[in-house]
Amino acid sequence: MTNETLMTTAPPEASVEPPRLHIQDVGRDFHTKSGVTHAVSGVDLTIQRGEFVAVIGRSGCGKTTLLRMIGGLLAPSAGTIEVDGKSLWRGSHVEPSAVTKLGFVFQESNLFPWFSILDNIALPLKLRGVGKTERRERAAELAELVGLTGFERSYPRELSGGMRQRAAIARALSTEPELLLMDEPFGALDALTRERMNLELQRIVLETNSTVVFVTHDIPEAVFLADRVVHMTPRPGRIRQILPAEFPKPRAVLVQTEPEFNEIVRILRRDLDEEE
C-alpha cells in the first residue's frame, strides 16, 4: 500500500497574508452506544486564496464531517480551523466574524419553498439587514451570473433540480464569501446536467475569483474542477494523499480525455478501490 503524500506547496507570493483556510490537527469523534467513532482524525490542510480544492473519498471517510466543521455547522473535538487567520471555533461556539466569511452549498438545494428564486438568493442579505431594493438588485445580478434570468419570480418547485442548485449557489455567493464550501452539490443530478453544472461552476468560480472546498465522491468531477484533490480514507477519517491537478483554466470538457488527466483519475481510482 502506497502511502505517499504529494503536497503541493503554496505559491510564495501568498505567504505574506494568512492562508484563506488553515486546518491543523482537526478531529471529530462521535459517541454512540457502540462506542466512539473517529469520523475525522488529525487532518491538516492549508488552502490559499483563489484555490479550488476537491475532497474525495468513500462514504464514511469523514469528508462531509470535515466540511461541516469548516462551515461552522459542527464543532470539532480537536484541532483548530482558521479562516483568513481568524479562529472559526471557540469551544463549541462559532465565531460570527469568521463564519460570515463563508458560503455553504448543500447536497439538497434547501431553498425555502415560500420564497421566490429572487428572495431565496437574497435571503443571506436580508438576514444581514440589507435593504429590499439593494438586495433585490444584487440578487438579480447573481441570478444572471448563475443563468437564472427569467426565473426570478418562480417558486423553487417550478424549477428543475439543476436550476435549484444554481439558485443555491447564487444564494451562497450573495454575501461575497471568502470561502465557498460545497457538499456534493451536484450529487442528486443526472450525469449530463452534472457535466453542464461543472462547467458553469468553473465559470462562476473564475468570474468571482472564489476559493472553494468541494466535497464529492465522483473522481473525474474532482479532477476536472480542482487545483488539488484531497483523498480521504475512513476509520479513522484522515487525509491519505493530496494530488495536484494542474491543467490550465478554464478547462473544456475534453480535458478529461487527456492522458495526464486520466493518470490522476487512475491513481485515485486504484487507491480508492483498494480501500475496501
Partner: protein
C-alpha cells in the same frame, strides 16, 4: 380524462346529485304519505326557508351566531398558535403536559356548557368560550406538529448564515408552520360553528341555535329543516373564507398548487 373535463366535473356532479336527492326525498315523502310533522316535503322546507329569510329576527340571529363563531375562532387561532409554538419549542414542557392535553382533548367539552352558562351567563360569552375551546385543539396540535416539522436542511441553511434565533423563528419556523396552521384552521372553523350552535341550543335566548329549539318546540319540522339549511350555508361560507385565505397566504404549498394542477 382531460384537465378541462376534470375541472367541469364537480360543477356537473354536485348539482345533479342535489337534484336526485331532493327528488328522492320528495318521492318518498309523497308516495309513502309521510306525516309532514315528521318529515316535511322539500317544497314545504323551501317555502319555510323563504319565509325565514324575510323575517328580520332571522338576520339578527345570524349576526349573533356568526359573531360568536368568528370571535371564538379568532381566540382559538391566537391562543392555539402561541400554545402550539411554545409546546413545540419546549419539548420537556410538552412531554410533562401531554397527559393533561390528551385528557382535555378527549373530554366531551359540550358537556361543560351548563357550567359555562353558570360562569359566563346566558349571553354571547358562554357560546364564544365553547366555540374557542372546540377550535383550539386542532389548531394548537397542528401548530405543534408544524413547529416540529421544520426541515433539517432549512435549519442548516439558517445556521450556516449565522442567523439569530429571532431571525430563524420569524423567517423559518413561522413560515414552515403556516400550512399546518391552515390545516388546523380548516377543522377549527367547522368546530367553532358547531360550538356556537350547541351553546345556543343549551343555554340562552338568542342566535340561530335558539331559533332551531323554538321551531322544534312548536313542532314546525319544515322550519327546523330550513334553519339547518341556513346554518349549513353559514358554515360553508366560513369554511370557504378560511380556504380562500389559505390560497392567498400560502400559494407556494402543495395543498394549494397541487389542487390547481388538478382543477386548472
Amino acid at each position: 380524462m382531460s384537465p378541462r373535463t376534470l375541472k367541469l366535473l364537480p360543477w356537473i356532479v354536485t348539482p345533479s346529485l342535489v337534484i336526485i336527492i331532493v327528488f328522492l326525498w320528495w318521492a318518498i315523502v309523497t308516495l309513502l304519505n309521510v306525516n309532514p310533522f315528521i318529515f316535511p316535503p322539500p317544497q314545504a322546507v323551501a317555502a319555510s326557508f323563504v319565509q325565514l329569510l324575510s323575517e328580520p329576527q332571522t338576520w339578527s340571529a345570524v349576526v349573533v351566531t356568526v359573531s360568536e363563531v368568528i370571535i371564538g375562532f379568532a381566540i382559538a387561532v391566537v391562543v392555539g398558535v402561541i400554545v402550539g409554538v411554545v409546546l413545540g419549542k419546549v419539548p420537556w414542557l410538552e412531554l410533562s403536559l401531554r397527559p393533561l392535553i390528551v385528557i382535555a382533548q378527549v373530554a366531551p367539552k359540550v358537556a361543560f356548557v351548563p357550567l359555562f352558562v353558570i360562569w359566563f351567563g346566558f349571553g354571547l360569552t358562554s357560546k364564544i368560550v365553547l366555540a374557542a375551546l372546540l377550535a383550539f385543539f386542532p389548531i394548537m396540535l397542528n401548530v405543534l406538529l408544524g413547529v416540529r416539522s421544520v426541515e433539517q436542511g432549512h435549519r442548516e441553511v439558517m445556521q450556516s448564515l449565522n442567523a439569530s434565533k429571532r431571525q430563524t423563528f420569524l423567517q423559518l419556523d413561522m413560515r414552515s408552520l403556516q400550512p399546518y396552521l391552515f390545516a388546523g384552521m380548516e377543522v377549527g372553523i367547522v368546530l367553532a360553528t358547531i360550538g356556537a350552535i350547541v351553546g345556543e341550543y343549551l343555554g340562552g335566548n338568542n342566535g340561530l341555535g335558539n331559533m332551531v329549539v323554538s321551531a322544534m318546540n312548536s313542532l314546525d319540522a319544515a322550519r327546523t329543516f330550513a334553519l339547518i339549511l341556513l346554518l349549513s350555508l353559514i358554515g360553508l361560507v366560513l369554511y370557504l373564507i378560511v380556504n380562500e385565505a389559505k390560497r392567498f397566504v400560502i400559494p407556494w404549498h402543495e395543498s394549494v398548487y397541487g389542487l390547481r394542477n388538478v382543477t386548472a
